[in-house]
């Protein structure tokens, strides 16, 4: 599959593409490059967005209309937001943009009517990740080229939601530096899904991976009404030191016409481990690989599809322990023997 001007397949995304593919797109591209299995997909680069906006600008200002707003002026922002969003939702797409997106969809799905996720991936020219409210819209279980086109529009339009505009104006982020890329990715029909922390959420221990797992689609996609199975596995020795299987009474599964729904877990599976020991070891290896790639602890969302393949859905830097005091546990001593005073010197 060859990338075109506005379309980048994950395999083609490199670090230097960040300004054009945004944080999410960049991250997925990097993971794919690092040899980590992610659900396949492509990124609609910011060039498509720019072309669309350029066409709209001919009928009246878009960016200029936002640039003159004050961050606290909620009434003004709301009025501009409603106006701009209506324009983005209704205006025809430039032919080239339409062609590229539909072409990419056809090339990607072929004969299959795969359910897809359509995800906002905003960025600035400086490749900063704009991770604030309203710009992380994700649409799940999108099927068919037309539906994809509609959701792409929605993602673009979300750049002009009230909270997004308000945030940018309050932080005085120049309008002409902000753009929207969109990730289109195959949905995983998850047999099991969950999260993993490459740094223990309980103790900050960097030598273990904590894995939470449940049946069906992951907790990242649903509100957490299920207590997941919980495991702690050593990154180095592979020992599983904690194995807590919970009663997973419900699970989330895809709904026929899109979206997801909640069903009861069959009785025989409720107290069965939602991942096998081999899968735990494989998850641990993936966690190590992802962490090494980013050079810092990560919170990772994952899913295991019906064929047993493990896929990474998202990876974010761990924030809780990283923000804490980083005083070294011990410092080297001029006389190495002094360390024994920790033991012989008594509690202080």
């Amino acid at each position: 599959m060859r990338s075109s001007e506005s379309i980048s397949w994950f395999a083609d995304v490199t670090l230097s593409d960040r300004p054009a593919v945004g944080g999410k797109g960049g991250s997925l591209g990097e993971l794919a490059h690092a040899g980590i299995a992610v659900p396949p997909g492509f990124v609609i680069r910011t060039t498509a967005f720019e072309r669309f906006i350029a066409a709209l600008e001919e009928d009246g200002p878009i960016r200029a209309g936002v640039a003159e707003l004050e961050g606290h002026d909620l009434n003004g922002i709301t009025a501009v937001s409603e106006n701009l969003r209506a324009r983005l939702e209704q205006a025809p797409l430039p032919d080239s943009v339409h062609r590229e997106i539909v072409g990419a969809h056809t090339e990607f799905c072929g004969e299959n009517n795969w359910p897809l996720a359509v995800r906002s991936s905003a960025t600035t020219e400086d490749a900063e990740d704009l991770s604030f409210a309203g710009l992380q819209d994700t649409f799940l279980w999108v099927m068919g080229a037309q539906a994809v086109l509609n959701r792409v529009r929605s993602c673009w339009a979300s750049l002009y939601s009230v909270p997004s505009i308000a945030y940018r104006r309050s932080h005085r982020i120049p309008e002409n530096t902000v753009a929207m890329a969109v990730v289109v990715q195959r949905m995983v029909e998850a047999r099991s899904a969950g999260v993993m922390f490459t740094r223990s959420p309980l103790t900050g221990d960097r030598s273990v991976v904590t894995i939470e797992a449940t049946w069906g689609l992951g907790p990242a996609l649903v509100s957490g009404e299920v207590t997941p199975d919980r495991f702690v596995i050593s990154k180095i020795t592979g020992e599983i030191s904690v194995r807590h299987i919970s009663d997973k009474h419900i699970q989330h599964v895809p709904a026929a016409r899109g979206g997801t729904r909640e069903v009861d877990t069959p009785e025989n599976l409720r107290r069965e481990s939602s991942v096998s020991d081999q899968e735990l070891a494989a998850l641990k290896d993936i966690a190590r690989k992802v962490e090494r790639h980013y050079g810092q602890p990560q919170d990772i969302e994952w899913a295991i599809d019906r064929s047993g393949e493990i896929l990474v859905l998202q990876s974010r830097p761990e924030t809780v322990w990283s923000a804490r005091d980083q005083t070294p546990v011990a410092k080297p001593a001029d006389n190495p023997l002094l360390h024994v005073m920790n033991i012989f010197g008594g509690r202080r």
Binding site: D205, Q326, P332, A333
Partner: protein, 607 residues
């Protein structure tokens, strides 16, 4: 104790009753080992790691000598700032010990100044002092080996008279006896010369790892530090070598399961050159490596492999079978060392910054320097020297039995070391006076009474601890050796109130899950009961039982911490093991099916 009553503390020493009918046997032990009312005010725990079975009156000498030296090293020689020595008591044959802490800040500061001049000197000069120690130990062993044979001839040999020796033979009974005892007490000083410092260095590294990686397992830390090549592993290595050689020489056929050592040796002698060659190589291995005994150095009946070839010989068929099946039976030292290196590097990489890495490097370097001694000293002290000691006492036993004091030479161990001296003087006097000794009218009945008491005591359980629980347990030896931490004590207290829990928890010593039939082995004589696939449940696992590890599916013990190199051996065999459960031998019934999860430290009773 009913399950609904939650105990708030351990029983007081004064509430423990001497088992009725054994009062005289109890009184035989030295006065300074008996509990008094004052002892209610402090914390004691049953040292079932070193003394898992009731102790005979002579065998308590091992505790006396050991604690005499341990305390001296802590209190007076190295001057550990917060820890003095250990007090000990005996009741119903069970040894309880208690530590003495220093809590006054000024005193700690004073002792710290001394500690720095003494302990630091030892750390800084460790290798040189250890080499010196080795020479001292070998000299001590030679002294014990060259003690004269005991003799009470009818007439003093003529050559002594003509040489003008001037001292009659009976005097040498006393002389040799006192030298035997003195040498044994001295050995323990050598034993403790370095040991607490070694533990301290290990604990320093362990403590750092626990702070940097709160969820790291103890066995992982032990794997990072273990030297693996200390003398304590040599006896088993020699067996593996002999097994291989038997195959190479084509004589393995006579080394069958169940054959007695005498029969095997006779058969080998009839196999010509190959048989003789193997026997020669056996002789080389035996000196000194078969000086390992089947215990830990505290019981007279834990004989050495040299004294009783049946334990080492019983391991050979298994090693031979494995070798013939194509398995590599030598310990994979290079692989283990490579794994250790990798473990160390992997954890180092995970540290937060270069400062932590530099500190880590410093601490593990010290731990590596001290650990070979920590692992290896036992071979010289608790095994080789101790065998010589007990065997010499046995000689006295034989002499006394010959003169009617005992029915059997082994009965000598039912007397305290004070009483043996009295019996010897009795015998010396009889030899000199010409009248019969008084001993034969006195000792046999007492010996019977005491043997009966020990048998009785073995049937009774004893609390794992006594007295008020301290807030903090600071003594590195207590924490490390016995795995006694505040959490462990709370666990014991809680376990007392859960009489019917099917789950028993302990330290995860060696990963893996195994299910099988439990054999509750209360003494080493019962080892023969173990069948392939059984799970060993015992008071304390013992590295000298290593050859047995190839038979069993898993091991569970009542006591033990991460220091137990039985844990190291278990890992090398890939044998799941859980140690420090407190009460496994009481809770698990012989023949029950159990599951051992060595990675989590959990034992589950399945039926």
């Amino acid at each position: 104790m009913s399950a609904s009553v939650k105990p708030t503390g351990f029983p007081l020493p004064s509430s423990l009753q001497v088992v009725p009918g054994t009062e005289r046997a109890q009184a035989a032990y030295p006065y300074y080992m008996q509990f008094t009312k004052e002892d209610d005010e402090r914390f004691w725990f049953y040292n079932s790691m070193h003394f898992p079975e009731p102790m005979s009156p002579f065998d308590v000498t091992t505790a006396e000598a050991a604690y005499c030296a341990l305390g001296a090293a802590n209190t007076r020689v190295h001057c550990l700032p917060t820890t003095l020595g250990i007090d000990y008591r005996i009741i119903n044959g069970r040894i309880y010990i208690g530590g003495n802490a220093v809590t006054d800040a000024a005193e700690i500061a004073r002792r710290t100044k001394e500690f720095e001049q003494r302990a630091f000197y030892y750390y800084a000069n460790w290798e040189r002092l250890i080499a010196q120690w080795k020479d001292k130990m070998l000299a001590l062993i030679r002294e014990a080996q060259t003690l004269p044979k005991l003799a009470l001839p009818e007439f003093e040999p003529l050559e002594h008279v003509h040489a003008g020796r001037g001292i009659a033979s009976n005097h040498y009974l006393l002389d040799v006896y006192q030298k035997t005892l003195e040498g044994y007490f001295r050995m323990w000083h050598y034993h403790f010369e370095f040991l607490l410092l070694g533990y301290g260095a290990y604990l320093t590294f362990f403590d750092f790892c626990k702070k940097a990686f709160p969820e790291i397992s103890e066995q992982t830390v032990a794997r990072m530090v273990s030297g693996m090549q200390a003398e304590i592993f040599r006896p088993d290595d020699e067996l593996r070598k002999l097994a291989k050689r038997a195959i190479e020489l084509g004589v393995d056929g006579v080394l069958r399961e169940g054959a007695s050592p005498d029969d095997v040796i006779k058969a080998l002698e009839q196999l010509g050159e190959p048989g003789r060659t193997w026997l020669q190589e056996l002789a080389v291995s035996r000196d000194p490596w078969f000086n390992i005994n089947v215990g830990d150095g505290f019981y007279h009946y834990h004989r050495s492999w040299n004294d009783d070839l049946s334990l080492p010989f019983s391991a050979l068929p298994g090693y031979i079978a494995n070798a013939k099946a194509g398995e590599r039976i030598e310990r994979p030292i290079e692989k283990l060392m490579a794994e250790r290196k990798e473990l160390i590097a992997d954890y180092r990489e995970l540290l937060n910054n270069e400062e932590e890495r530099a500190a880590y490097d410093q601490m593990i370097a010290l731990a590596h320097r001290v650990f070979p001694y920590v692992e290896g000293h036992k071979f010289y002290c608790e095994h080789w020297y101790t065998n010589l000691f007990f065997n010499k006492i046995r000689e006295f036993g034989a002499l006394l039995a010959e003169h009617g004091f005992f029915e059997d030479a082994e009965d000598v161990f039912q007397l305290t070391h004070y009483e043996i001296e009295a019996a010897i003087i009795d015998l010396m006097t009889a030899w000199s006076s010409g009248s019969p000794p008084r001993g034969p009218a006195r000792w046999p009945a007492i010996v019977e009474e005491r043997k009966a008491a020990i048998k009785e005591w073995a049937e009774h359980e004893t609390p794992p601890a006594l007295g008020p629980v301290p807030e903090v347990i600071d003594d590195p030896a207590i924490v490390l050796l016995w795995g006694i931490t505040r959490e462990r004590l709370d666990g014991w207290l809680a376990a007392g109130g859960q009489a019917d829990s099917s789950e028993i928890r302990g330290f995860a010593a060696s990963s893996g899950v195994a299910e099988g039939v439990a054999r509750v082995v209360k003494s080493v004589e019962e080892i023969d009961r173990l069948r392939y696939g059984d799970i060993l449940v015992c008071r304390v696992t013992n590295p000298t039982w290593a050859p047995i590890f190839q038979k069993i599916a898993a091991a569970v013990s009542d006591i033990g911490g991460s220091m137990s190199h039985a844990a190291i051996v278990a890992r090398e065999y890939g044998l799941p093991a859980v140690v420090g459960t407190g009460t496994a031998t009481q809770k698990i019934k012989d023949g029950q099916r159990i599951r051992v999860d060595g990675g989590r430290g959990v034992v589950t009773i399945l039926e």
